[in-house]
Symmetry: C2
Subunit: 246 residues, 2 copies
Amino acid sequence: MQADAATAGTTHPTRRERVREATLLEIKEIARRHLVAHGPPGVSLRAIAREMGMTAPGLYRYFGSHDELMLAMQADYFTELADAVRAADASLPPDDVDGRIHAALRAFRRWALANRAEFALLFGPPGPHHGTPEGPAVAAGQEFAAVFFTLFDRLLAEERFAVPDDDALTPVLCRQLTAFAEHTGFSTAPPLGALHLLTSCWVRLYGVVCMEVFHHLGFIGDDVDALFEAELRGILAAVGVPYRVP
Amino acid sequence: MQADAATAGTTHPTRRERVREATLLEIKEIARRHLVAHGPPGVSLRAIAREMGMTAPGLYRYFGSHDELMLAMQADYFTELADAVRAADASLPPDDVDGRIHAALRAFRRWALANRAEFALLFGPPGPHHGTPEGPAVAAGQEFAAVFFTLFDRLLAEERFAVPDDDALTPVLCRQLTAFAEHTGFSTAPPLGALHLLTSCWVRLYGVVCMEVFHHLGFIGDDVDALFEAELRGILAAVGVPYRVP
DNA sequence: TGGCGCAAGCTTACGGCGTTCACGGAAGTT
DNA sequence: AACTTCCGTGAACGCCGTAAGCTTGCGCCA
C-alpha cells in the first residue's frame, strides 16, 4: 500500500492498472523485437502471445486488433524519434545554433539507421497492414514534426539566410503554404518563401535517409556516411548554416 | 498452324509454351490487381488461383514461391517504369534537351502516382515479404537506372552546368563515386563532381516522389503538384536547365 | 497412327495467421 | 460473504504458404 504512494506519479494508480501497464509494455516490447527480426509480417499476435506464455485471444484485452497494436507502436516510435532528435539538439549549448542543427539532423539519420524497421513503419508506404495512421499515431507524428519546426524557427529568427521572395512562388503553392502555416503552431507565421525552403530541406533529408534505410543507395557503395554528409552540407547551405565536419 | 507462324515473334514457340506464357501473364495481371486493391499482403496465391478457377498448388508450376512471384512483379514494374520515362523522353524532338528532361522527370512522378502500390514495391522498404531484389528484378532495376544515366549524360555532354570542383569532395566520397562510375556503363567516365551532382538530384527527386506516394506530404495540402514543380525547378537548376512550366 | 513421357493441375495435409465467442476463475469492491 | 469487473483459455472459422503424391491429357516421336 505504501508502495502505491511511492511509485505513483500523478494520480496513484491502482495495482491492477500497474500490472496492466506492465503487460501493455511487455507486448509492445516483444512486438518490437519481432518487427526488427522478421519485418512487419513477423509481428503476429500469436507469436507474441506464445512468447509471453499466453494465448492469442488474451491479447485482445489489450489491443482491439492487430492494426491497433501497430498503430500504438508507430506512436511510440514517433515519440522516441522526436526525443532522440530533441536530445541531440539539447546536448549542445543553446547559443551554438549551428552545432545544434547539425546534431539534430545527424541524430535523425542515426536513429533511422539504428532502427531501420521502426523507421520503415513510420516513413514507409502506408497501407492496411502497417496501419494507416490514426488517433495517437498521427498526434505523435505531429509532435515529431514540431521538433523540426522549432529548429527551423530558430534559424529564421536569427535571419541566417535570405528568405526567398514570395513572388517566385506559384499562386497555388502560396495557398498551400499559407494553409500549412496556419495549421502548424508557429510562434509568428513565417514568410511563405521560408516555409517553402523548410519543406524543400525536409524533402531532401527524408530522401537521403529513406534511400539509405531502404537500401536503395547500394550503387554508391557501402559507406554512405560520405554521401549523407555531402547532402547535409547542401541542405544546411540552403538555410545559411556553414557546414561543420562531424 | 498458320497462326503459329503469324504470332511467332522470333523463334516460333510451341503451343504449350504459348499457353504457358499466357497463364504466366494472367497470374501476374491478377496479382497486380490484388496488389493495387489490397496492398502487398493482399496478393496471395490462393486468392489468385481462386480467381483463375484453379487451386493454389497449381500456381507452383509457374512460380517457385510467393516471393518469386513478387520478384517477377518487381522486374515487370521496373521495366514498365523505365519504358514510361523513356517514352516521355522520346516524345519530344531530340534537340529539345531541356524539354526532354522535363518530360522524363515528370513522367517518373506521373507513373509513381498512377501506380502507387507498384512504386512502393520498387522503392519502399525491402524485406522478406516484398522480396529482397534478386536475379531479374535487380537487372531490371539497373536498366531503369540506366535511363537516368542517359539523360544526365546528355546534359553533361552539352556542358549545361558548371561541374563542381572535385576538391570539394571528401576523399572517401571520391572513392565511392569512382567505384560508382566504373560500375555503371557511362560512355566516358564523368568527373566525380558531376556524378555527385547526379546523385544529389536523384535523391531529391526520390524524396519528393516518395513522400507524395507514401502520403507523407499531407501537411502541405491536397495539391502536391505545386510543390513538386517547385522541387523540380530546384533540381533542374542544379544541372543548369532553365525551368519550364508544364 | 500409336504409344509414351512429361507437365498441368488436383487432392489432401500441415502449420501458422487474425478474430470471435462462450466460459472459468481470480482480483477487487461493497 | 456476495457481487462485479477484468483476465485469460479453449474451441472454432476462414484465411494463408507450402509439400507430397496422384490423375489426366497434351504433344512429341517412332
